[in-house]
């Protein structure tokens, strides 16, 4: 029997494969995985497109409550116009960032987007052709195709609410709201302390009562800011008159935050929050500290635009039947009894593929009388579209507010709402105003009140000069 030949000593198949990879198989597999997954993602992006692309329209909103309301209105819009709406809720700060980043990178922008009032101005910074939002002036000024017998829409909207979204004479945003400001007060404590709100017609009357009932560190009549700009701007806007503007900017976009009206206001304001004549504390206007201060009766009154009434109801349900609203005291008898705080605009971006459909969406969300009535019941926000105000929902009694007719109260003040003109530098101006308040407060010595006016003038001028330097640099 012949011996078997020895088995081949050559490399096995596996070894042969391994030999082909001088750095081992693992790095090759990782590389392969990277390339395949990269190509897959690329293919998905190219052929499938982003989610928004599949919808007829895409819309972003930054307010959760708005989102909930629009979700309800979405099916009827989709049915009516046989389209699909991709509605997204995006955080307020993120809206600005994402819009800007997407615009810069030429990526998909939403067709329609809601922007908060103080952020809107920054989008008007470039030349007319470079503004992110489409000009909607013609939609508003042309005869209304749905109601040809009625006046154009621009005449049926609270006019002053267009001012924040108007730039170089063109309108870029449809206002969502009016936001007249009233004072929300603790009706039960007012009664206990013998304060008659009907007698608080002017700020002088208000201060007199404030000094009577204030107990330092225990009870103050009003909630005012010691460092931010919100309270000052409410009071500043209230002082605006047709030929004597007040606020941050005038109708031409010129900075006016250091004019005599602002000096007068701050000279009056600072002693309200510091010194022996103080009638106000600053627990903030949001969150737990504010709620606790209101519940404890630490502050009896707060500025309350329509949107804030929802916050009271939601955050302080135990105050139901104890809260009431009154108009702001006027600067002088017969003067304006309101101001304005906050706001939202709806804009169409330049990337919007179907502007007519986007305008229909805007009208559906902002001008549908029935929906607006229902929305007011839920959110208490008064729309600027006056045709809707005869909806009974705006005139119902509200148990939380001691059976006051919430809508009726705000509607009464709506046409008095002052304009607030905007500028790309509005955020900077607001921030500077907050600093001015803080600096004046630090410098104010209640024992030497005479020097306050000069301090205020100096601080306002320094802040305004900083902003003017920035504005001067802007070549657009």
């Amino acid at each position: 029997m012949e011996p078997k030949p020895p088995r081949s000593q050559g490399p096995s198949a596996w070894e042969s494969v391994k030999d082909a990879f001088p750095f081992g198989i693992a790095p090759f597999l990782i590389l392969l995985l990277t390339v395949v997954s990269g190509l897959f993602l690329l293919a998905v992006t190219v052929f499938h497109g982003p989610a928004e692309g599949k919808a007829g329209l895409s819309m972003w909103t930054f307010a959760r409550q708005h989102y909930v309301a629009y979700e309800k209105a979405r099916p009827s819009f989709e049915r009516k116009y046989a389209t699909r709406l991709d509605l997204q809720s995006v955080h307020g700060d993120a809206v600005t960032r994402r819009l800007r980043a997407a615009y810069w990178a030429n990526l998909d922008l939403p067709d329609v987007v809601e922007v908060e009032i103080s952020r809107a101005g920054s989008f008007f910074r470039g030349p007319e052709g470079g503004i992110l939002f489409a000009d909607i002036t013609d939609f508003l000024t042309q005869p209304d195709p749905d109601h040809p017998q009625k006046r154009p829409l621009i005449d049926r909207i609270v006019k002053t609410r267009l001012s924040p979204y108007t730039h170089r004479g063109r309108i870029y945003g449809l206002p969502h709201d009016v936001h007249p400001v009233m004072l929300a007060y603790r009706a039960d404590l007012f009664e206990q302390l013998g304060i008659d709100p009907n007698k608080l017609e002017t700020w002088d009357d208000f201060l007199r009562e404030g000094r009577r009932i204030t107990v330092p560190e225990q009870r103050y009549l009003l909630n005012l800011s010691r460092s931010g700009s919100w309270a000052v701007e409410i009071l500043l806007f209230q002082r605006a008159e047709p030929n004597s503007p007040a606020g941050y900017f005038d109708a031409d976009g010129q900075l006016i935050m250091d004019n005599d009206k602002a000096v007068d206001l701050l000279t009056w304001y600072i002693p309200l929050v510091k010194g022996p004549g103080r009638i106000a504390a600053d627990p903030g206007m949001f969150g737990q500290a504010f709620a606790k201060a209101t519940q404890d009766g630490y502050t009896l009154c707060s500025f309350c635009p329509d949107w804030k009434t929802w916050g009271f109801q939601h955050d302080m349900p135990q105050l139901a039947g104890k809260m009431k609203l009154m108009p702001l005291p006027a600067v002088r008898k017969g003067g304006r009894r309101t101001s304005t705080w906050g706001g939202t605009m709806l804009g169409m971006t330049r990337h919007c593929r179907d502007r007519d459909l986007a305008w229909k969406l805007a009208r559906h969300m902002y001008m549908n009388k029935d929906d607006l009535g229902e929305r007011f019941r839920e959110l208490n926000i008064l729309p600027p579209f006056k045709d809707a105000w005869d909806n009974p929902a705006f005139h119902e009694r509200r148990p939380y507010w001691c059976n006051q007719r919430l809508g009726t109260e705000y509607i009464r003040l709506a046409d008095q709402t002052p304009p607030q003109y905007t500028s790309p530098f509005i955020q900077l101006a607001k921030s500077k105003m907050g600093s001015v308040v803080a600096n004046c407060l630090s410098a104010y010595d209640p024992r030497r009140p005479a020097g306050l006016r000069e301090v205020v003038r100096r601080e306002l001028k320094a802040a305004a000069d900083d902003i003017r330097r920035q504005m001067k640099r802007n070549p657009f």
């Binding site: 990879f21 790095p27 590389l31 052709g129 470079g130 504390a281 737990q288 606790k292 921030s431 070549p475």
Partner: protein, 302 residues
């Protein structure tokens, strides 16, 4: 076999490394290098949107150095960085020395306790400390009131001179324990025989610390100092969260990165924001080199 090695094998041997680093390079160039180069270019423009930009040469830099807001931001950031280096790091080192003692009972528990603030996110810390510093109802005010009868109305986050102390306190709470870990690791690597020798030579505790401990942990200490300085100059989230997306009373909470963010994403001038970014980067680089020089990093040991 040898045929393979001279053909495909050779080819792969030459090009495979490039292929392996290619995914990283592609991603780095797209998302790292290109934006960096682009931001350098942008810093010479005033911008507003992709189609609206005007070349201004060095004007952005000229404006920056006369911009009072940038000056304020630099000052605030420098104060914060100074506290980080001169207060936070000695505290971390002190804690590390304490928790390095073998005779300390429950030292592992203490280590965990001091380190744990770092385990929660910055957002959580920001929100938590906003509540702690709140006027009237905040934990700190209530505690100070009960202990010393201090006013409940001290508004830490809305009073100009109190904003920076509030930020520093928050940062101490978050980072002292974190930096302690670096020092602890360094201390455990110091040669024990050196201490024994020093004791034999009659060196006291202070002399041992000065002549044995400090030189032993010097490389780590330099590393921590540089990291803390860079981190401090990048301060953004904490004031952004605690001051409610504002500069704080009298701009006391405005930092360089906040100012950059404000210009880039609020005002919309990415050109000026890039100028701020590059100035910050160069500033931090110079500072780090200075620190390394003065701490003798490059000095050759005799």
């Amino acid at each position: 076999m040898s045929r393979r090695r001279t053909g495909l094998f050779q080819l792969q041997h030459r090009y495979a490394p490039y292929l392996f680093v290619a995914p990283f390079l592609v991603l780095f160039c797209t998302f790292g290098l290109y934006p960096l180069v682009k931001s350098v270019v942008l810093s010479f423009f005033i911008t507003s949107g992709p189609a609206s930009r005007i070349f201004v040469g060095l004007d952005n830099f000229r404006f920056l150095f006369t911009d009072p807001d940038f000056g304020r931001a630099c000052l605030n950031t420098a104060v914060f960085a100074a506290f980080s280096v001169f207060l936070q790091l000695p505290m971390s080192l002190g804690l590390a020395l304490l928790l390095n003692r073998k005779d300390l009972r429950g030292r592992n528990l203490f280590r965990l306790c001091f380190f744990s603030p770092r385990l929660v996110g910055m957002v959580f810390v920001g929100v938590l400390f906003s509540l702690i510093f709140a006027a009237r109802f905040g934990l700190l005010n209530v505690a100070l009131h009960r202990l010393f009868g201090a006013s409940l109305e001290t508004d830490w986050l809305n009073t100009k001179p109190l904003i920076m102390p509030a930020l520093v306190l928050t940062s101490l709470w978050m980072y002292v324990g974190f930096n302690m870990i670096y020092f602890l690791a360094a201390l455990q690597n110091v040669d024990r025989t050196l201490y024994e020798a020093a004791t034999v030579d009659g060196a006291g505790a202070w002399q041992q610390f000065w002549h044995v401990t400090l030189p032993g942990i010097k490389p780590v200490a330099i590393f921590v100092i540089i990291l803390s300085t860079i981190g401090s100059f990048q301060l953004f989230e904490l004031p952004y969260l605690m001051l409610g997306n504002s500069r704080g009373a009298g701009d006391a909470g405005l930092t360089i990165v906040m100012y950059l963010y404000e210009n880039g994403f609020v005002t919309g001038d990415l050109g000026y924001a890039s100028t701020i970014g590059w100035t910050l980067a160069l500033g931090v680089l110079i500072l780090a080199i200075g620190q390394m020089y003065f701490t003798g990093t490059w000095r050759k040991e005799p």
